[in-house]
Symmetry: C2
Amino acid sequence: MKPKIDYTLYLVTDRNLMFSPTIEDLVEQAIKGGCTLIQLREKDSSSLEFYEMALRVREVTNQLDIPLIINDRVDIAIAVNADGVHIGQNDLPIDAVRNIIGYDKIIGVSASNLSEALNAQRGGADYLGIGAMFATDTKSDANLTSFDELQKIREAISLPLVVIGGINRTTAPLFHGSGVDGLAVVSAIAAREDVCGAARELKQLFLKGR
Amino acid sequence: MKPKIDYTLYLVTDRNLMFSPTIEDLVEQAIKGGCTLIQLREKDSSSLEFYEMALRVREVTNQLDIPLIINDRVDIAIAVNADGVHIGQNDLPIDAVRNIIGYDKIIGVSASNLSEALNAQRGGADYLGIGAMFATDTKSDANLTSFDELQKIREAISLPLVVIGGINRTTAPLFHGSGVDGLAVVSAIAAREDVCGAARELKQLFLKGR
């Protein structure tokens, strides 16, 4: 059975900009600060490094009872028994992913506009990551999603939605009343010295608007 | 059931140095010249591009009844119903791969020395790629395998062995009497204008020594 997921505060890791000494330390502190879901994203390492990192993070998330999603690599998601996989528009198609990973796992899909969001919903996605909402250093080539587009997506899509891309303490309050289910955050948690405090603050800022 | 594989002439693709207009054209010409096995190796493209390329190559190999192996990406191997996967020492561990891909598929493992070869055999590999035998442009950081080491590996390992790394018309005859089952070739086929002729010549050079 698919795990029930709380999308409120979704940490997406980035080793290149993290302040923490290890990725497992980052994840542990983020969860202690209130992150409800973790995505391990790793673009530059070998498959073996990604796998070993995922095993270490899996231990932390298991201990703290938080679901773990693996970015892009369906094989690594299966190998570490992650709760699911997150795919972008340049990753494997959703039907191919579902065939490999089965129906007990979560598939999240990145969508930057209504058309991508509808396709992902039709394809059987479990949640969508909408954005990039704002320009960021981590995704410089990202197409920005306007608040108008976000509203159209929210009206058309019944799946859980998280917003991603430039979500931080300044931008988080802008999503009050938007109907999104959570914030997906990279640098505003990972690049901070006080990961735990950063997560706590973002969560409070988001929940205040509910 | 696992496919029976003829390892005599194994093309490992490299889009960056190929002369052919498309990867499927390269593969078709290589098979027409006598290649008995194809490995699709793709390090720089997105998962979607790799997947779509693999689907196109799969069509050609199916039509010509030649097995297709996918480098590294177990998920893509499954998604395109390839005959197996080839993993290096920095890819997923062989037991993790076997758990995902099952026992009907081929797992090939790169080994540069006897210890890696023995580990791979113990782990359940179906064949080994031994090398790099010679320095190449495509794998500049590769550890070279001596002919002495190759002989030790051949004596200790019962699996099919192919040699890789700098295999071309000059070096191919050096493997006469070495007991290897085939030649794995990148640029000496892929970078040639006459792919079909290059494959034919290499196969003749190798088979002459049998």
